[in-house]
Amino acid sequence: MNPFKKQDKQLSIFITAGYPELNSLPEQLNLLQRNGVDFIEIGIPFSDPLADGPVIQQSSQQAIRNGMNLEVLFEQLKETKSNIHVPLVLMGYFNPILQFGIQRFLKEASVCGIKGVIIPDLPFEIYMRSYQEEFQKYDVTFIPLITPKSEDSFIKMVSENSRNGFVYLVSQHATTGSDIQFISNQSRYADIRVLCGETPLFLGFGIRNNRDLASAYLECDGGIVGTAFLQAITEGTENEFLKTLREVTLQEG
Protein backbone atom coordinates (compact mmCIF):
# COMPACT_ATOMS: atom_id res chain seq x y z
CA MET A 1 0.00 0.00 0.00
CA ASN A 2 1.32 3.40 -0.97
CA PRO A 3 0.76 5.77 2.00
CA PHE A 4 0.74 8.79 -0.33
CA LYS A 5 -2.15 7.58 -2.43
CA LYS A 6 -5.61 9.05 -1.79
CA GLN A 7 -8.76 9.89 -3.68
CA ASP A 8 -8.61 13.55 -2.65
CA LYS A 9 -6.09 16.19 -3.43
CA GLN A 10 -3.48 16.42 -0.71
CA LEU A 11 -1.76 19.13 1.27
CA SER A 12 1.76 18.63 2.57
CA ILE A 13 3.72 21.00 4.79
CA PHE A 14 7.49 21.34 5.04
CA ILE A 15 9.04 22.39 8.33
CA THR A 16 12.67 22.77 9.34
CA ALA A 17 13.41 20.53 12.31
CA GLY A 18 14.59 22.58 15.28
CA TYR A 19 13.05 25.87 14.15
CA PRO A 20 12.26 28.20 15.83
CA GLU A 21 13.23 26.25 18.98
CA LEU A 22 15.20 23.05 19.32
CA ASN A 23 12.10 21.27 20.65
CA SER A 24 9.45 22.84 18.41
CA LEU A 25 9.02 19.78 16.21
CA PRO A 26 6.72 17.52 18.30
CA GLU A 27 4.17 20.27 18.83
CA GLN A 28 4.35 21.31 15.17
CA LEU A 29 3.70 17.72 14.06
CA ASN A 30 0.65 17.55 16.32
CA LEU A 31 -0.65 20.87 15.03
CA LEU A 32 -0.28 19.79 11.41
CA GLN A 33 -1.95 16.45 12.07
CA ARG A 34 -4.85 18.13 13.91
CA ASN A 35 -5.35 20.44 10.95
CA GLY A 36 -5.70 17.54 8.56
CA VAL A 37 -2.41 17.91 6.71
CA ASP A 38 -1.98 14.77 4.59
CA PHE A 39 1.75 14.26 5.05
CA ILE A 40 4.63 16.19 6.56
CA GLU A 41 8.10 16.86 5.27
CA ILE A 42 10.71 17.36 7.93
CA GLY A 43 13.76 19.32 6.83
CA ILE A 44 17.16 18.31 8.21
CA PRO A 45 19.04 21.60 8.58
CA PHE A 46 22.25 22.10 6.59
CA SER A 47 24.71 24.97 6.64
CA ASP A 48 24.86 25.37 2.86
CA PRO A 49 21.47 24.54 1.30
CA LEU A 50 22.05 25.21 -2.42
CA ALA A 51 18.48 24.85 -3.65
CA ASP A 52 16.93 27.02 -0.96
CA GLY A 53 16.00 30.68 -0.81
CA PRO A 54 16.63 33.00 2.16
CA VAL A 55 13.72 31.85 4.36
CA ILE A 56 14.71 28.17 4.49
CA GLN A 57 18.39 29.16 4.69
CA GLN A 58 17.71 31.26 7.77
CA SER A 59 15.50 28.66 9.44
CA SER A 60 18.29 26.11 8.87
CA GLN A 61 20.95 28.38 10.36
CA GLN A 62 18.75 29.00 13.38
CA ALA A 63 18.04 25.28 13.81
CA ILE A 64 21.75 24.45 13.67
CA ARG A 65 22.48 27.15 16.25
CA ASN A 66 19.72 25.65 18.40
CA GLY A 67 21.59 22.35 18.36
CA MET A 68 19.50 20.35 15.90
CA ASN A 69 21.22 17.39 14.26
CA LEU A 70 20.19 13.93 13.11
CA GLU A 71 20.68 12.33 16.53
CA VAL A 72 18.39 14.85 18.20
CA LEU A 73 15.90 14.62 15.35
CA PHE A 74 15.58 10.83 15.52
CA GLU A 75 15.18 11.04 19.29
CA GLN A 76 12.34 13.53 18.94
CA LEU A 77 10.72 11.36 16.28
CA LYS A 78 10.87 8.27 18.48
CA GLU A 79 9.11 10.16 21.26
CA THR A 80 6.30 11.42 19.03
CA LYS A 81 5.92 8.19 17.09
CA SER A 82 2.90 6.88 18.97
CA ASN A 83 0.93 10.14 18.50
CA ILE A 84 1.64 10.93 14.89
CA HIS A 85 -0.12 8.88 12.24
CA VAL A 86 0.25 11.01 9.13
CA PRO A 87 3.08 9.87 6.87
CA LEU A 88 6.43 11.56 7.54
CA VAL A 89 9.09 12.30 4.95
CA LEU A 90 12.64 13.45 5.67
CA MET A 91 14.22 16.03 3.40
CA GLY A 92 17.88 16.91 3.69
CA TYR A 93 21.08 17.58 1.80
CA PHE A 94 23.46 14.71 1.33
CA ASN A 95 26.42 15.79 3.46
CA PRO A 96 24.86 15.56 6.95
CA ILE A 97 23.43 12.15 6.02
CA LEU A 98 26.81 11.00 4.71
CA GLN A 99 28.49 12.02 7.96
CA PHE A 100 25.83 10.34 10.09
CA GLY A 101 26.35 7.20 8.01
CA ILE A 102 23.95 6.04 5.32
CA GLN A 103 23.25 2.67 6.99
CA ARG A 104 22.69 4.23 10.37
CA PHE A 105 20.47 6.91 8.84
CA LEU A 106 18.30 4.38 7.04
CA LYS A 107 18.06 2.16 10.08
CA GLU A 108 16.94 5.04 12.30
CA ALA A 109 14.56 6.30 9.63
CA SER A 110 12.92 2.93 9.36
CA VAL A 111 12.65 2.58 13.16
CA CYS A 112 10.91 5.97 13.22
CA GLY A 113 8.49 4.84 10.53
CA ILE A 114 9.70 7.36 7.94
CA LYS A 115 7.89 6.78 4.67
CA GLY A 116 10.22 8.53 2.28
CA VAL A 117 13.49 10.42 2.02
CA ILE A 118 14.24 13.37 -0.26
CA ILE A 119 17.89 14.26 -0.87
CA PRO A 120 17.91 17.14 -3.35
CA ASP A 121 21.62 16.97 -4.14
CA LEU A 122 21.85 13.21 -4.58
CA PRO A 123 21.09 12.65 -8.27
CA PHE A 124 18.99 9.64 -9.10
CA GLU A 125 21.79 8.10 -11.19
CA ILE A 126 24.22 8.12 -8.25
CA TYR A 127 21.47 6.86 -5.92
CA MET A 128 20.83 3.90 -8.23
CA ARG A 129 24.50 3.08 -8.61
CA SER A 130 25.58 3.38 -5.00
CA TYR A 131 22.69 3.45 -2.53
CA GLN A 132 19.55 1.83 -3.89
CA GLU A 133 20.30 -1.55 -2.39
CA GLU A 134 20.58 -0.15 1.12
CA PHE A 135 17.41 1.90 0.81
CA GLN A 136 15.59 -1.26 -0.23
CA LYS A 137 17.12 -3.27 2.56
CA TYR A 138 15.66 -0.87 5.13
CA ASP A 139 12.45 -0.43 3.19
CA VAL A 140 12.82 3.35 2.93
CA THR A 141 11.58 4.95 -0.28
CA PHE A 142 13.85 7.40 -2.11
CA ILE A 143 11.67 10.24 -3.37
CA PRO A 144 12.93 11.66 -6.66
CA LEU A 145 12.81 15.32 -7.66
CA ILE A 146 11.90 16.28 -11.20
CA THR A 147 11.39 19.62 -12.93
CA PRO A 148 9.16 20.65 -15.86
CA LYS A 149 12.28 20.36 -18.03
CA SER A 150 13.19 16.81 -16.99
CA GLU A 151 13.21 14.37 -19.86
CA ASP A 152 10.15 12.16 -20.32
CA SER A 153 12.22 8.99 -20.12
CA PHE A 154 13.71 10.14 -16.82
CA ILE A 155 10.29 10.95 -15.38
CA LYS A 156 9.02 7.50 -16.36
CA MET A 157 12.02 5.78 -14.85
CA VAL A 158 11.89 7.57 -11.51
CA SER A 159 8.14 7.18 -11.10
CA GLU A 160 8.44 3.44 -11.74
CA ASN A 161 11.08 3.32 -9.04
CA SER A 162 9.02 5.32 -6.59
CA ARG A 163 5.84 3.27 -6.69
CA ASN A 164 5.66 3.12 -2.89
CA GLY A 165 6.32 6.82 -2.62
CA PHE A 166 5.70 9.81 -4.84
CA VAL A 167 7.38 12.04 -7.35
CA TYR A 168 8.27 15.57 -6.24
CA LEU A 169 7.72 18.02 -9.07
CA VAL A 170 9.66 21.24 -8.60
CA SER A 171 7.31 23.87 -10.01
CA GLN A 172 9.88 25.77 -12.04
CA HIS A 173 13.63 26.32 -12.31
CA ALA A 174 13.99 28.26 -9.09
CA THR A 175 15.16 28.03 -5.51
CA THR A 176 12.56 27.56 -2.76
CA GLY A 177 10.39 30.55 -1.95
CA SER A 178 10.63 32.11 -5.43
CA ASP A 179 7.88 33.76 -7.43
CA ILE A 180 6.44 31.07 -9.66
CA GLN A 181 4.31 31.32 -12.81
CA PHE A 182 2.14 28.26 -12.29
CA ILE A 183 -0.21 29.00 -15.15
CA SER A 184 2.40 28.93 -17.87
CA ASN A 185 3.55 25.50 -16.70
CA GLN A 186 0.15 23.76 -16.38
CA SER A 187 0.20 21.92 -19.68
CA ARG A 188 3.62 20.47 -18.89
CA TYR A 189 2.34 19.49 -15.41
CA ALA A 190 -0.49 17.64 -17.14
CA ASP A 191 1.93 15.73 -19.37
CA ILE A 192 4.02 14.83 -16.37
CA ARG A 193 0.95 13.59 -14.48
CA VAL A 194 0.39 11.11 -17.30
CA LEU A 195 4.03 10.04 -17.39
CA CYS A 196 3.96 9.26 -13.67
CA GLY A 197 1.23 6.62 -14.11
CA GLU A 198 0.20 5.12 -10.77
CA THR A 199 2.77 7.04 -8.73
CA PRO A 200 1.38 10.12 -6.94
CA LEU A 201 2.76 13.46 -8.11
CA PHE A 202 3.10 16.44 -5.79
CA LEU A 203 4.02 19.97 -6.71
CA GLY A 204 6.35 22.05 -4.54
CA PHE A 205 8.51 25.22 -4.48
CA GLY A 206 6.79 28.62 -4.45
CA ILE A 207 3.30 27.62 -3.22
CA ARG A 208 2.46 30.53 -0.92
CA ASN A 209 -1.29 30.72 -0.53
CA ASN A 210 -4.59 29.06 -1.32
CA ARG A 211 -4.56 30.36 -4.90
CA ASP A 212 -1.19 28.75 -5.60
CA LEU A 213 -2.36 25.57 -3.92
CA ALA A 214 -5.43 25.49 -6.16
CA SER A 215 -3.02 25.66 -9.12
CA ALA A 216 -1.19 22.63 -7.76
CA TYR A 217 -4.49 20.75 -7.44
CA LEU A 218 -5.36 21.36 -11.11
CA GLU A 219 -3.06 18.71 -12.53
CA CYS A 220 -1.10 17.22 -9.62
CA ASP A 221 -2.21 15.06 -6.71
CA GLY A 222 -1.33 17.71 -4.20
CA GLY A 223 0.92 20.54 -3.18
CA ILE A 224 3.78 21.04 -0.73
CA VAL A 225 4.08 24.32 1.18
CA GLY A 226 7.42 25.21 2.79
CA THR A 227 8.68 28.79 2.83
CA ALA A 228 5.24 30.31 3.38
CA PHE A 229 4.55 28.07 6.37
CA LEU A 230 7.94 28.87 7.94
CA GLN A 231 7.07 32.54 7.54
CA ALA A 232 3.74 31.90 9.25
CA ILE A 233 5.63 30.20 12.10
CA THR A 234 7.91 33.21 12.42
CA GLU A 235 4.88 35.48 12.53
CA GLY A 236 2.92 33.18 14.84
CA THR A 237 0.04 32.82 12.36
CA GLU A 238 0.31 29.11 11.55
CA ASN A 239 -3.27 28.26 12.63
CA GLU A 240 -4.89 30.87 10.42
CA PHE A 241 -2.59 30.02 7.53
CA LEU A 242 -3.42 26.31 7.72
CA LYS A 243 -7.12 27.12 7.82
CA THR A 244 -6.98 29.07 4.56
CA LEU A 245 -5.05 26.23 2.92
CA ARG A 246 -7.54 23.62 4.14
CA GLU A 247 -10.39 25.51 2.53
CA VAL A 248 -8.86 24.78 -0.86
CA THR A 249 -8.59 21.13 -0.02
CA LEU A 250 -12.25 20.92 0.93
CA GLN A 251 -13.42 22.72 -2.19
CA GLU A 252 -11.40 20.53 -4.47
CA GLY A 253 -11.88 17.26 -2.59
Binding site: A51, P120, I126
Partner: protein, 399 residues
Protein backbone atom coordinates in the same frame (compact mmCIF):
# COMPACT_ATOMS: atom_id res chain seq x y z
CA UNK B 1 50.15 1.86 -9.55
CA UNK B 2 49.81 5.23 -11.21
CA UNK B 3 47.29 7.69 -9.89
CA UNK B 4 44.91 8.68 -12.64
CA UNK B 5 44.50 12.41 -13.01
CA UNK B 6 41.65 12.20 -15.52
CA UNK B 7 38.12 11.63 -14.25
CA UNK B 8 35.89 8.71 -15.25
CA UNK B 9 32.64 9.11 -17.19
CA UNK B 10 30.68 10.33 -14.17
CA UNK B 11 33.44 12.75 -13.24
CA UNK B 12 35.09 10.77 -10.44
CA UNK B 13 38.82 10.94 -9.75
CA UNK B 14 39.07 7.70 -7.81
CA UNK B 15 36.37 8.11 -5.20
CA UNK B 16 36.27 11.93 -5.39
CA UNK B 17 34.34 14.24 -7.69
CA UNK B 18 31.08 13.46 -9.47
CA UNK B 19 28.14 15.81 -9.89
CA UNK B 20 26.07 15.99 -6.69
CA UNK B 21 23.60 18.53 -7.99
CA UNK B 22 19.88 19.03 -7.69
CA UNK B 23 17.79 17.93 -10.66
CA UNK B 24 17.36 21.67 -11.24
CA UNK B 25 20.93 21.92 -12.50
CA UNK B 26 21.07 18.67 -14.42
CA UNK B 27 20.25 20.07 -17.84
CA UNK B 28 22.55 23.14 -17.65
CA UNK B 29 25.39 20.88 -16.48
CA UNK B 30 24.71 18.31 -19.21
CA UNK B 31 24.74 21.04 -21.85
CA UNK B 32 28.02 22.32 -20.50
CA UNK B 33 29.54 18.84 -20.52
CA UNK B 34 28.52 18.25 -24.10
CA UNK B 35 29.84 21.64 -25.24
CA UNK B 36 33.16 21.21 -23.46
CA UNK B 37 33.70 17.69 -24.84
CA UNK B 38 33.05 18.95 -28.33
CA UNK B 39 34.92 22.25 -28.38
CA UNK B 40 38.03 21.16 -26.52
CA UNK B 41 38.88 19.13 -29.64
CA UNK B 42 37.64 21.72 -32.12
CA UNK B 43 40.55 23.23 -34.11
CA UNK B 44 39.02 26.69 -34.45
CA UNK B 45 38.28 26.81 -30.71
CA UNK B 46 41.83 25.75 -29.87
CA UNK B 47 43.27 28.29 -32.27
CA UNK B 48 41.24 31.16 -30.83
CA UNK B 49 42.11 30.12 -27.27
CA UNK B 50 45.82 29.99 -28.02
CA UNK B 51 45.76 33.24 -29.94
CA UNK B 52 44.09 35.11 -27.07
CA UNK B 53 46.46 33.60 -24.52
CA UNK B 54 49.34 34.91 -26.59
CA UNK B 55 48.15 38.34 -27.71
CA UNK B 56 45.73 39.32 -24.97
CA UNK B 57 47.06 37.58 -21.86
CA UNK B 58 50.72 37.86 -22.82
CA UNK B 59 51.66 34.18 -22.70
CA UNK B 60 53.93 32.39 -22.36
CA UNK B 61 54.53 33.83 -18.91
CA UNK B 62 58.26 33.96 -18.10
CA UNK B 63 59.99 31.23 -16.09
CA UNK B 64 62.34 33.39 -14.07
CA UNK B 65 65.26 32.07 -12.06
CA UNK B 66 65.21 33.93 -8.76
CA UNK B 67 68.72 35.05 -7.91
CA UNK B 68 67.93 35.72 -4.29
CA UNK B 69 66.11 32.48 -3.56
CA UNK B 70 68.59 30.40 -5.56
CA UNK B 71 71.47 31.88 -3.56
CA UNK B 72 69.75 31.57 -0.26
CA UNK B 73 68.79 27.92 -0.71
CA UNK B 74 71.79 26.93 -2.84
CA UNK B 75 69.53 25.57 -5.52
CA UNK B 76 67.95 26.52 -8.84
CA UNK B 77 64.69 28.14 -7.92
CA UNK B 78 62.43 29.24 -10.74
CA UNK B 79 59.33 31.37 -10.48
CA UNK B 80 56.59 30.75 -13.01
CA UNK B 81 55.44 34.32 -13.47
CA UNK B 82 51.65 34.04 -13.67
CA UNK B 83 51.63 37.41 -11.90
CA UNK B 84 52.66 38.97 -15.20
CA UNK B 85 49.53 37.81 -17.02
CA UNK B 86 46.96 40.40 -18.01
CA UNK B 87 44.84 41.14 -14.90
CA UNK B 88 47.62 39.88 -12.64
CA UNK B 89 47.03 36.20 -12.03
CA UNK B 90 46.59 32.73 -13.49
CA UNK B 91 42.81 33.10 -13.28
CA UNK B 92 42.61 34.63 -16.76
CA UNK B 93 43.74 31.39 -18.45
CA UNK B 94 40.55 29.70 -17.35
CA UNK B 95 38.23 32.64 -18.00
CA UNK B 96 39.48 32.94 -21.59
CA UNK B 97 38.74 29.27 -22.19
CA UNK B 98 35.31 29.34 -20.59
CA UNK B 99 34.19 32.60 -22.18
CA UNK B 100 34.94 31.18 -25.63
CA UNK B 101 32.87 28.16 -24.68
CA UNK B 102 30.01 30.34 -23.35
CA UNK B 103 30.02 32.34 -26.59
CA UNK B 104 29.77 29.20 -28.67
CA UNK B 105 26.91 27.98 -26.46
CA UNK B 106 25.04 31.20 -27.29
CA UNK B 107 25.07 32.48 -23.70
CA UNK B 108 24.60 36.18 -22.96
CA UNK B 109 24.95 36.40 -19.18
CA UNK B 110 27.94 35.17 -17.20
CA UNK B 111 27.87 34.42 -13.47
CA UNK B 112 30.97 34.04 -11.33
CA UNK B 113 32.01 33.75 -7.68
CA UNK B 114 35.18 35.32 -6.42
CA UNK B 115 37.28 35.30 -3.27
CA UNK B 116 40.34 37.48 -3.72
CA UNK B 117 38.58 39.18 -6.61
CA UNK B 118 41.16 37.93 -9.10
CA UNK B 119 38.73 35.52 -10.70
CA UNK B 120 36.04 38.21 -10.64
CA UNK B 121 38.35 40.66 -12.39
CA UNK B 122 39.44 38.02 -14.91
CA UNK B 123 35.79 37.21 -15.62
CA UNK B 124 34.73 40.86 -15.88
CA UNK B 125 37.64 41.38 -18.27
CA UNK B 126 36.73 38.60 -20.69
CA UNK B 127 33.07 39.66 -20.53
CA UNK B 128 34.09 43.18 -21.54
CA UNK B 129 36.19 41.67 -24.30
CA UNK B 130 33.35 39.59 -25.70
CA UNK B 131 30.43 41.88 -24.94
CA UNK B 132 28.69 39.56 -22.46
CA UNK B 133 26.89 40.64 -19.31
CA UNK B 134 28.79 39.88 -16.09
CA UNK B 135 27.44 39.28 -12.57
CA UNK B 136 29.99 38.51 -9.85
CA UNK B 137 29.16 37.23 -6.36
CA UNK B 138 31.62 38.14 -3.64
CA UNK B 139 31.49 37.65 0.13
CA UNK B 140 30.95 40.82 2.11
CA UNK B 141 34.13 40.21 4.09
CA UNK B 142 36.15 39.79 0.90
CA UNK B 143 34.67 42.95 -0.62
CA UNK B 144 36.19 44.77 2.32
CA UNK B 145 39.65 43.21 2.26
CA UNK B 146 40.08 43.17 -1.52
CA UNK B 147 38.42 46.46 -2.35
CA UNK B 148 40.71 47.48 -5.25
CA UNK B 149 39.49 44.44 -7.16
CA UNK B 150 35.85 45.38 -6.54
CA UNK B 151 36.54 48.76 -8.11
CA UNK B 152 38.28 47.12 -11.06
CA UNK B 153 35.30 44.80 -11.68
CA UNK B 154 32.92 47.76 -11.61
CA UNK B 155 35.09 49.76 -13.98
CA UNK B 156 35.04 46.79 -16.34
CA UNK B 157 31.25 46.93 -16.34
CA UNK B 158 30.45 44.01 -14.05
CA UNK B 159 27.74 43.96 -11.39
CA UNK B 160 29.16 42.88 -8.02
CA UNK B 161 26.63 41.31 -5.67
CA UNK B 162 27.65 40.93 -2.00
CA UNK B 163 27.13 37.48 -0.47
CA UNK B 164 25.84 38.10 3.03
CA UNK B 165 25.16 34.54 4.20
CA UNK B 166 27.41 32.31 6.34
CA UNK B 167 31.03 33.41 6.73
CA UNK B 168 30.58 36.00 3.95
CA UNK B 169 33.60 34.63 2.06
CA UNK B 170 34.30 32.45 -0.99
CA UNK B 171 32.13 29.50 0.09
CA UNK B 172 29.10 31.75 0.46
CA UNK B 173 29.79 33.62 -2.77
CA UNK B 174 29.83 30.21 -4.49
CA UNK B 175 26.50 29.25 -2.86
CA UNK B 176 24.94 32.48 -4.06
CA UNK B 177 26.29 32.05 -7.59
CA UNK B 178 24.88 28.51 -7.76
CA UNK B 179 21.49 29.65 -6.42
CA UNK B 180 21.40 32.41 -9.00
CA UNK B 181 22.21 29.84 -11.67
CA UNK B 182 19.32 27.66 -10.51
CA UNK B 183 17.03 30.67 -10.89
CA UNK B 184 18.52 31.67 -14.25
CA UNK B 185 19.40 28.38 -15.94
CA UNK B 186 20.08 30.10 -19.26
CA UNK B 187 23.03 31.99 -17.86
CA UNK B 188 26.54 30.56 -17.93
CA UNK B 189 28.23 29.84 -14.59
CA UNK B 190 31.92 30.51 -15.00
CA UNK B 191 33.52 28.81 -12.01
CA UNK B 192 36.97 30.00 -10.97
CA UNK B 193 38.71 26.92 -9.65
CA UNK B 194 38.91 23.14 -10.04
CA UNK B 195 35.85 22.73 -7.82
CA UNK B 196 32.13 22.25 -8.39
CA UNK B 197 30.26 19.48 -10.18
CA UNK B 198 31.75 17.53 -13.08
CA UNK B 199 32.79 18.75 -15.70
CA UNK B 200 34.10 21.91 -13.99
CA UNK B 201 37.15 20.41 -12.26
CA UNK B 202 38.26 18.70 -15.46
CA UNK B 203 37.54 21.74 -17.61
CA UNK B 204 39.32 24.27 -15.41
CA UNK B 205 42.35 21.97 -15.06
CA UNK B 206 42.36 21.59 -18.83
CA UNK B 207 42.45 25.35 -19.46
CA UNK B 208 45.06 25.91 -16.73
CA UNK B 209 47.31 23.09 -17.93
CA UNK B 210 48.99 25.62 -20.23
CA UNK B 211 51.09 26.55 -17.17
CA UNK B 212 52.84 23.18 -16.89
CA UNK B 213 53.07 22.77 -20.66
CA UNK B 214 55.09 25.98 -20.77
CA UNK B 215 57.19 25.03 -17.75
CA UNK B 216 58.37 21.89 -19.54
CA UNK B 217 59.44 23.80 -22.62
CA UNK B 218 61.02 26.63 -20.64
CA UNK B 219 62.92 24.32 -18.31
CA UNK B 220 64.32 22.42 -21.27
CA UNK B 221 65.69 25.68 -22.62
CA UNK B 222 67.08 26.75 -19.28
CA UNK B 223 68.49 23.49 -17.95
CA UNK B 224 68.46 21.01 -20.79
CA UNK B 225 65.94 18.88 -18.91
CA UNK B 226 62.19 19.14 -18.95
CA UNK B 227 61.64 17.86 -15.41
CA UNK B 228 62.34 19.75 -12.19
CA UNK B 229 62.75 17.99 -8.85
CA UNK B 230 59.82 19.79 -7.32
CA UNK B 231 56.83 21.91 -8.34
CA UNK B 232 55.19 24.03 -5.65
CA UNK B 233 51.83 25.81 -5.81
CA UNK B 234 49.26 27.16 -3.36
CA UNK B 235 45.79 25.61 -3.17
CA UNK B 236 42.53 27.40 -2.51
CA UNK B 237 40.25 25.35 -4.72
CA UNK B 238 43.39 24.35 -6.56
CA UNK B 239 43.31 25.74 -10.10
CA UNK B 240 46.79 27.22 -10.27
CA UNK B 241 48.15 24.06 -8.64
CA UNK B 242 46.25 21.83 -11.08
CA UNK B 243 47.67 23.88 -13.95
CA UNK B 244 51.22 23.79 -12.62
CA UNK B 245 51.10 20.04 -11.81
CA UNK B 246 49.06 18.80 -14.76
CA UNK B 247 51.81 17.76 -17.19
CA UNK B 248 53.91 16.33 -14.34
CA UNK B 249 51.41 13.92 -12.79
CA UNK B 250 52.78 11.00 -14.77
CA UNK B 251 56.41 11.97 -14.17
CA UNK B 252 56.51 10.37 -10.77
CA UNK B 253 60.04 11.48 -10.01
CA UNK B 254 58.76 15.06 -9.79
CA UNK B 255 57.58 15.94 -6.29
CA UNK B 256 54.36 17.97 -6.32
CA UNK B 257 53.72 20.16 -3.29
CA UNK B 258 50.27 21.67 -2.68
CA UNK B 259 50.43 24.48 -0.15
CA UNK B 260 47.40 25.08 2.02
CA UNK B 261 46.57 28.07 4.19
CA UNK B 262 46.99 27.22 7.88
CA UNK B 263 45.67 30.60 9.02
CA UNK B 264 46.76 31.20 12.60
CA UNK B 265 47.97 27.61 12.89
CA UNK B 266 46.61 24.29 11.63
CA UNK B 267 44.90 23.45 14.93
CA UNK B 268 44.17 27.00 16.06
CA UNK B 269 40.53 26.82 15.03
CA UNK B 270 41.30 29.56 12.50
CA UNK B 271 42.65 27.64 9.55
CA UNK B 272 41.90 26.55 6.01
CA UNK B 273 44.22 23.51 5.90
CA UNK B 274 41.64 21.28 4.27
CA UNK B 275 43.69 18.17 3.58
CA UNK B 276 44.68 17.89 7.25
CA UNK B 277 41.46 19.08 8.90
CA UNK B 278 39.05 17.83 6.28
CA UNK B 279 37.18 14.59 5.70
CA UNK B 280 35.13 13.19 2.83
CA UNK B 281 32.00 15.16 2.10
CA UNK B 282 29.96 16.97 -0.52
CA UNK B 283 30.43 20.68 -1.16
CA UNK B 284 29.31 22.67 -4.18
CA UNK B 285 28.33 19.59 -6.11
CA UNK B 286 31.45 17.55 -5.62
CA UNK B 287 32.49 14.75 -3.25
CA UNK B 288 35.85 15.81 -1.91
CA UNK B 289 37.85 16.63 1.19
CA UNK B 290 36.19 19.37 3.17
CA UNK B 291 36.23 20.95 6.60
CA UNK B 292 33.09 19.99 8.48
CA UNK B 293 31.85 19.28 11.98
CA UNK B 294 30.63 15.88 13.13
CA UNK B 295 27.08 16.70 12.00
CA UNK B 296 28.28 17.37 8.46
CA UNK B 297 27.85 21.13 8.71
CA UNK B 298 30.53 22.94 6.76
CA UNK B 299 33.05 24.75 8.94
CA UNK B 300 33.89 28.33 8.15
CA UNK B 301 37.58 28.43 7.34
CA UNK B 302 40.09 31.17 8.04
CA UNK B 303 43.00 32.52 6.08
CA UNK B 304 44.45 36.01 5.77
CA UNK B 305 44.36 35.31 2.05
CA UNK B 306 40.89 35.60 0.56
CA UNK B 307 41.79 33.30 -2.33
CA UNK B 308 42.70 30.41 -0.01
CA UNK B 309 39.85 30.95 2.46
CA UNK B 310 37.80 27.97 1.26
CA UNK B 311 36.73 24.87 3.25
CA UNK B 312 37.21 22.37 0.40
CA UNK B 313 39.71 21.47 -2.30
CA UNK B 314 39.13 20.27 -5.83
CA UNK B 315 38.47 16.52 -6.18
CA UNK B 316 41.60 16.06 -8.31
CA UNK B 317 43.69 17.29 -5.37
CA UNK B 318 41.71 15.26 -2.83
CA UNK B 319 42.46 12.20 -4.93
CA UNK B 320 46.14 12.88 -5.59
CA UNK B 321 46.84 13.94 -1.99
CA UNK B 322 45.10 10.85 -0.57
CA UNK B 323 46.91 8.57 -3.01
CA UNK B 324 50.25 10.14 -2.08
CA UNK B 325 51.05 11.55 -5.52
CA UNK B 326 50.79 15.11 -4.23
CA UNK B 327 52.22 16.23 -0.91
CA UNK B 328 50.24 18.81 1.07
CA UNK B 329 51.99 21.36 3.25
CA UNK B 330 50.38 23.95 5.56
CA UNK B 331 51.65 27.55 5.82
CA UNK B 332 50.39 30.09 8.38
CA UNK B 333 49.37 33.70 7.81
CA UNK B 334 52.60 34.95 9.37
CA UNK B 335 54.84 32.65 7.37
CA UNK B 336 53.17 33.80 4.16
CA UNK B 337 53.48 37.48 5.09
CA UNK B 338 57.20 37.06 5.84
CA UNK B 339 57.78 35.32 2.52
CA UNK B 340 55.93 38.11 0.70
CA UNK B 341 58.17 40.75 2.25
CA UNK B 342 61.30 38.75 1.56
CA UNK B 343 60.56 38.42 -2.16
CA UNK B 344 59.56 42.07 -2.43
CA UNK B 345 62.72 43.35 -0.78
CA UNK B 346 65.19 41.01 -2.40
CA UNK B 347 63.77 40.28 -5.80
CA UNK B 348 61.64 43.33 -6.57
CA UNK B 349 58.49 41.23 -6.96
CA UNK B 350 55.44 41.80 -4.75
CA UNK B 351 53.53 38.49 -4.79
CA UNK B 352 49.84 37.91 -4.09
CA UNK B 353 49.20 36.69 -0.55
CA UNK B 354 48.05 33.38 -2.00
CA UNK B 355 51.29 32.89 -3.93
CA UNK B 356 53.29 33.96 -0.85
CA UNK B 357 52.09 30.74 0.80
CA UNK B 358 53.84 28.75 -1.92
CA UNK B 359 57.05 30.73 -1.46
CA UNK B 360 57.04 30.16 2.30
CA UNK B 361 57.33 26.40 1.87
CA UNK B 362 60.98 26.64 0.80
CA UNK B 363 62.07 27.10 4.41
CA UNK B 364 60.40 23.86 5.39
CA UNK B 365 62.04 21.64 2.80
CA UNK B 366 65.33 19.84 2.90
CA UNK B 367 66.78 21.06 -0.35
CA UNK B 368 69.65 19.23 -2.04
CA UNK B 369 72.39 21.35 -3.63
CA UNK B 370 71.57 22.25 -7.22
CA UNK B 371 68.04 20.96 -6.99
CA UNK B 372 65.65 22.42 -9.57
CA UNK B 373 62.47 23.78 -8.04
CA UNK B 374 59.59 25.56 -9.77
CA UNK B 375 57.25 27.74 -7.71
CA UNK B 376 54.08 28.87 -9.35
CA UNK B 377 53.81 32.57 -8.61
CA UNK B 378 50.08 32.61 -9.21
CA UNK B 379 49.48 36.35 -8.89
CA UNK B 380 50.75 39.79 -8.06
CA UNK B 381 50.23 41.58 -4.77
CA UNK B 382 48.62 44.89 -5.69
CA UNK B 383 45.25 43.73 -4.39
CA UNK B 384 46.84 42.90 -1.01
CA UNK B 385 48.53 46.23 -0.34
CA UNK B 386 46.15 47.09 2.48
CA UNK B 387 46.92 43.85 4.34
CA UNK B 388 50.64 44.21 3.66
CA UNK B 389 50.72 47.79 4.90
CA UNK B 390 48.89 46.88 8.09
CA UNK B 391 51.43 44.15 8.73
CA UNK B 392 54.27 46.48 7.84
CA UNK B 393 53.09 49.11 10.31
CA UNK B 394 52.62 46.54 13.05
CA UNK B 395 56.01 44.89 12.61
CA UNK B 396 58.01 47.88 11.54
CA UNK B 397 61.08 47.13 13.59
CA UNK B 398 61.38 43.50 12.71
CA UNK B 399 61.30 44.01 8.97
Amino acid sequence: MKTSYKPDKLGFYGEYGGAFIPELLKIPVQELSAAFSYFKEDPSFILEFEQLLKDYVGRPSPLYKSTHLSNRFQANIYLKREDLNHTGSHKINNTIGQILLAKRMGKTTILAETGAGQHGVATATVCALTGLKCVVFMGEKDIERQYPNVQRMRMLGATVIPATSGSKTLKDATNEAIRHWINHPDSYYLIGSVVGPHPYPEMVAHFQSVISKEIKVQLTHATGKELPHRVIACVGGGSNAAGAFYEFYEDEEVELIAVEAAGEGVYSGLSAATSILGSDGVIHGSLTLLMQDRDGQIIEPHSISAGLDYPGIGPLHAHTIRSGRTKACPITDDEALRAAFELSRNEGVIPALESAHALAVLEKLTIQPNEVIVINLSGRGDKDMQTYLEYFTKNHESI
